[in-house]
Amino acid sequence: MNPRALAAWSLSGITIALASGNPVYRALALLCAVNVLVALRRPEVSLRGLSIALVVAGLIAIAVTTLASHTGDHAFLVLPSAIPVLGGSLTVEAALFGASTGLGIAAAVLAAAPLSLVLTPNSLVDALPSALARTGAAIGTALNLIPGIARSATEIRDAQRMRGWRPRRVREWPDLAVPVVLTALEGSIALAEAMEARGYGSGARSHYSDLVWRWADVVVCVVAPAAAIAFVLLRVSGSIADWYPFPNVSLPPVNGVGVACCLALALPALVWRR
């Protein structure tokens, strides 16, 4: 699984999720993204937190739209108009429109999620273009330092506690903060020295390409952006229409080619294996 191909797929997914206001396409994009996520995620990550967050976001979108927009024919509740913003009829149409908005948010987030739940942070840095390779090495190095700094922070905190340090007054925080910062700085300097000793510096650099492009990677990298571009073109030309259920709820218009573009997003789940 090539990180750059996955990044291209993510961008395409986000584009499609946000390009139209139609819940049918959004739902399809969401289903594809969920499939990719479940199929390819790292075994130790749990999707529970993300799912809960998205459900909450969707509920908020529904609530906000229902409470703020009072258009629509099928009201299920009428609040007294005396209430400033919320007064008026709460309609089914507004709720459905809010649901469609939530769907779009969820689809976009889930299209971006694989970048952090499938790839490790360092392999994402690897996916940067060659021109940024040196920057990528620096960022990757910083990422490697973080666990060590966290560990030394715990050690310092324990040792200072044993010497009688209590994190009560603000005045006492330097007893923890200064050693941790100094340790981090010393660690960074040591690492910089090691990097320089191995020849890191200005000047020409080559790239150890362990980025392999298999046929599956190429296919995904071509098909997903093509689908996104086609989708945007259809949108611009009007073949893919927004869905506006006011004043009366109606079925959203569905264009076959648009649906095909959305379904193309499911490709990584079918051709890639973890």
Partner: protein
Amino acid sequence: MIRVLLRVVLALPLLGAGMGAVTSVAGSGPATPLCAQAASLHHVGIVVEHGDGQVIRRCVGFDTATATALAVLQASGLEVGISSYGGGLGAAVCQIDNEPATYPPGCFTASGSYWVLFVSRAGGAWATSDLGVSSETVAGGDGIGFRFDPQTGADPPPASPAGTCPASTPPPARTPAASVRPTAAPRASSSTPSAPPSRSAPTPPSATPTAGVLGVATPAASPGAIGSLRRPDSPPGINFGLLLAAVGSGGLLGLLAIRILGRRAV
């Protein structure tokens, strides 16, 4: 044993999607009139005049005292494309019966042509509407007219709405959606006007048949297409998309279930 059951359970969404798609295709046979609320209290006639002069007439029934012009249009069974302004400002009609063939998201084409709304109160003369299509309300016996204005020349009203709606209830018809009781009334075929005896001689408008084998094909002969306010018919061409979407989502859900359950079972 459990795995077999699992597979059966997982196949159901695919089956359901397939069946839904099939009935939606089969249901819209040739010349299917729209859902009829046989006991609709009120009727409003719609006249749509294309830029090239072709006219379509529809009769729409509803039970509420008044209805917005947009609702009536959407219930008429014609293919409609709208663009919303958001925030309760209403919507604009961008496309009726596939004219113009494509339109940009902002609704107004480069040539500047747009659909003009006319209202006729209780059989009276046409008058242009000051309100938008989602704000203008009509009652039983009124008429709504749409004329695609090429922005050249004057603003004449469309053809008269008179006679678009029969005096009494036209025959009920079968719905294209896969629900609803089969009705006893004969289906209006594409060539013979099956007008009930009480109907006055309708003026066959030179309407263009809406394209497509599927869906509502009501060529010139059947003026009595009646729409219900709750179930607009899906115009043709979209059914392929719906079919594809149904099959696709069924497949995706099935795949997802297989992965999740497979992971648990391991």
